[in-house]
Assembly symmetry: C2
Homo-oligomer: 404 residues x 2
Amino acid sequence: MYLNRDIITLEEAQGLLQSVNLQTKTKKISTAEAHFYVLAENIYATFPIPAFRRSGYDGYGILNEDDHSFPREFEIIDNIGAGSVLEKKMSSGQAVRIMTGAKVPDEVGKVTMLEVTEKCSDDKVLIKESMKHSNISSIGEEFLKGDLLLSSGTRLNAGAISLLNAFGIAEVLVYQKPKVGILATGSELLKAGEAYVEGKIYNSNGPLLEALVRENGGLVITLDNVKDELHDTLAILNDLTSRCDLVLTTGGVSVGDFDFMAEAAKAADQFLFNKLSMRPGSPTTAFVHKGTPVIALSGNPGACFTGFYLFVEPTLQRFVGGKSRLKQVKLPLAHDYDKPNNFDKYLRATVNFDHDSGLIVSQIGSDKSSALGNLHSTTAFFKVPHDSSIHKGEEVEVWLLPYK
Amino acid sequence: MYLNRDIITLEEAQGLLQSVNLQTKTKKISTAEAHFYVLAENIYATFPIPAFRRSGYDGYGILNEDDHSFPREFEIIDNIGAGSVLEKKMSSGQAVRIMTGAKVPDEVGKVTMLEVTEKCSDDKVLIKESMKHSNISSIGEEFLKGDLLLSSGTRLNAGAISLLNAFGIAEVLVYQKPKVGILATGSELLKAGEAYVEGKIYNSNGPLLEALVRENGGLVITLDNVKDELHDTLAILNDLTSRCDLVLTTGGVSVGDFDFMAEAAKAADQFLFNKLSMRPGSPTTAFVHKGTPVIALSGNPGACFTGFYLFVEPTLQRFVGGKSRLKQVKLPLAHDYDKPNNFDKYLRATVNFDHDSGLIVSQIGSDKSSALGNLHSTTAFFKVPHDSSIHKGEEVEVWLLPYK
């Protein structure tokens, strides 16, 4: 059971995962349900906005030819509310009461704001002065018919949902959220709520991955635990890979007798990697089992969390036609880090903004891969290259997490 | 119907809203469903982690008294998998095979890593050298019993969910998500999918607010449209305020004949404001109707979006025991802005990070309050104080949005 392991770098491992062909799937969905989905089509304006000459204010519309010799009294011939249109024809000396957002009749050249008018009677209004502006938005002022509104690959946030609605678009083509199977391996795992048993631990990585998948746009299909038996592991892998687009496991990737995930990797259709020159998560393993990629993360919580963002998140984004949403920047480190290692380290961190010094990155909590206590407050990773120490103020490579 | 309006500043308006007493509600919820909720209790460690002396590696445990004279052969007396405990008692000259994460027997002083051992037969192992470290995590190394794990007010993200699970906590007290009623007013509104009617527009603000509420931790209870009739407006307000913790409306707040939301404000239990010295959204209105706060936003999409973040988002956070998640910073503007106004302007923007110049803010899209096209790409606002122009590179006040 001691497997040969060829050690590769993080970038090589990411490249191998990237080379796995993924099946993106799309579906038509109602705009009302499309929030948080990713568009799989370009959306073009099917009409201009404004679609008609729109009044910018509440006031009175008058003919261009009447726009002189104020103050002057006009006959009010009708009242155009937003959503209504004037049926009558206007003549010189007449005005029409018009509301913000209403369609301005073609013959009206200006809308006089209410503030410079005085109503004399039910059907008479005094207009006191000429307006500098027409107070009318022209057709297509913001969008012309055929304008690109949203590109394929856009995440449909609130603003995008409102834009689709503004064009009356009731259905859009989106990428299906990838179905992700999650498997926490280990005979030592108890479920929250179960009575404590000596020598065992509560499963925290399963729920961690479930929540991380949700935060990053995936659909958790199942959450199973499996005992440390090769037969059970393979049976559950067969089941999960047949039902899911991606399978994540945690635990069982080390060199021990019970590390069946390492064994399963060797039996896979396509083996990708099982040893990385990085900490945490050096035994992180990936393979393709019956056509479905399996990313086998460490059972150490810190390593599981970090591995999720370095390997799983970019894969989830590929299923929706995109790339990793982690933002890579260079920032100064707020403190010394003086624990050189023969592997590159990727440490959990937060980024703070200070008016004088700008953005600065700090390690948060423990740097141990077994640590649990800093996952909820981690908003970034920074890299400590192998065999090096870093001094306060030195720049490091930083990955900003998309969800905080 | 021309109401008196006392103009106040943004900060005064925010203060008035802040002074409204809100009823926060809590509930016990299963940890499995608690993702994205906000904790309403402090969570303390009920046991230490590790809860037992935990092996950091796969290897062989030996007694302290045997830690000398290597290489040396030991008798393997048992195999301790993670989750198991040794039932036997060890004697000198004996070793126990032990897996990563397993409970180390009390009498074992060190775990020798597999890499420096050689198995001689089924029950014999050669240990080649002494270990520098014990390779055993001590009890309570990360958490002691009674440690504060998560404070009341913590948003339960993936890391927090995993921490609760690690302590076997199956139920937590959380703030209930506030129930938010949304009302888009206006006879001109069509629903997406309906055939276009001349002079009308598709309702985009209703779906905008619905999605914004979801993105900011609220629960959308209902989404109704109402015609521009005072009687209908009041009836729907009565209904919504009886069922919701907060009511948002859009449209009907101007000075026109059909602006019934302005009228409803005057009839309310407690009037808060209806005129602000800011753009967009100067007619933004707020009041308390039958005990429930109502925030009446402009019908202009840009103003509706901006008003949501300046007034509604902080209110939503108060329902879950928190404060606004908008982050206020000062940053240089990437360009000139030379359209002074007698009101302060709050313009939609994005913030970019450039390695050399750091963080910088730029206006995005149109600055018109009627603009729709930049809401999905807005990640910040910046302020242009009244009667001023801003030159490229000058610092402005910036609000970073929590959800992008």
